[in-house]
């Protein structure tokens, strides 16, 4: 099973680019974007709008990639592809997995924010 953790080399890379404050900005921006896009994906499921699901998953994939949240990146990439191909599948279940993957990395991201608070 794929481990759900942050690839810390990616965080180090962000720190090299813009320092600790920049990493904090990226993490906060990530939370805003991913939360918003998960809601967009859920709305897409409610209304049967596969394009909305695809777009939301695409955005989450990109944001997750920036922070090295590999499992979230992979799940959202799969959802993006499935929605693009218009597959007849239980999207509720997929979005639920996506949300769980996001929830699972929150403690680690909070830990990074805490380390950078000093």
């Amino acid at each position: 099973m794929e481990e759900n953790k942050i690839y810390l080399e990616r965080i180090s890379n962000l720190e090299k680019i813009g320092g600790k404050e920049f990493v904090k900005k990226m993490i906060n921006s990530f939370h805003r974007n991913v939360s918003q896009k998960i809601e967009s994906a859920k709305e897409g499921v409610r209304t049967g709008n596969l394009e909305a699901i695809e777009r939301a998953a695409h955005s989450i994939k990109s944001s997750a990639g920036n922070l090295g949240a590999t499992k979230l990146e992979n799940i959202s990439g799969r959802i993006e592809k499935i929605a693009e191909l218009d597959e007849d599948i239980n999207y509720d279940d997929l979005i639920s997995k996506l949300e769980n993957a996001y929830d699972d990395i929150k403690p680690e991201l909070n830990k990074i924010l805490g380390e950078f608070r000093g």
């Binding site: 680019i17 900005k25 990226m26 805003r32 974007n33 955005s59 994939k61 990109s62 944001s63 920036n66």
Partner: protein
């Protein structure tokens, strides 16, 4: 400072690109293709970073508009894409892009060097 425009709907990606480039270039940001087409005519940059997968009007469509416009037709455009398969470079060059970079942007030097190669002094 020379000006670079970034057309990208994901705010995290815009934040990252701005952080990489802001010490070297002035940056104009656009969230949608339509916004970019209107704005770029008024504030013509030295180079455009253009996301392929924009909502509504996608990157290639935006590029077509830019190439038809006198003010922007000669501005170099780098595609930003999540897809990096064999043959993709040729595909983007055929579409009219001058280069491409893949997301996630991990190596800042790739984007900086790509821009340096295309921006004329």
């Amino acid at each position: 400072m020379k000006k670079i425009a970034i057309v990208e709907d994901n705010p995290d990606n815009r934040l990252l690109v701005c952080a990489i480039l802001e010490d070297y270039y002035e940056i104009d940001e656009y969230e949608t293709g339509l916004e970019a087409i209107k704005g770029l005519k008024k504030k013509v940059p030295s180079l455009i970073l253009l996301d392929i997968s924009l909502p509504g009007m996608d990157g290639p469509e935006v590029l077509q508009h830019l190439k038809k416009e006198e003010l922007t037709k000669d501005v170099p455009v780098i595609a930003i894409t999540a897809h990096a398969m064999e043959g993709d470079r040729e595909k983007y060059l055929e579409l009219g892009f001058d280069d491409y970079i893949t997301k996630p942007i991990i190596d800042e030097n790739l984007i900086l060097n790509s821009i340096k190669n295309l921006i004329k002094d």
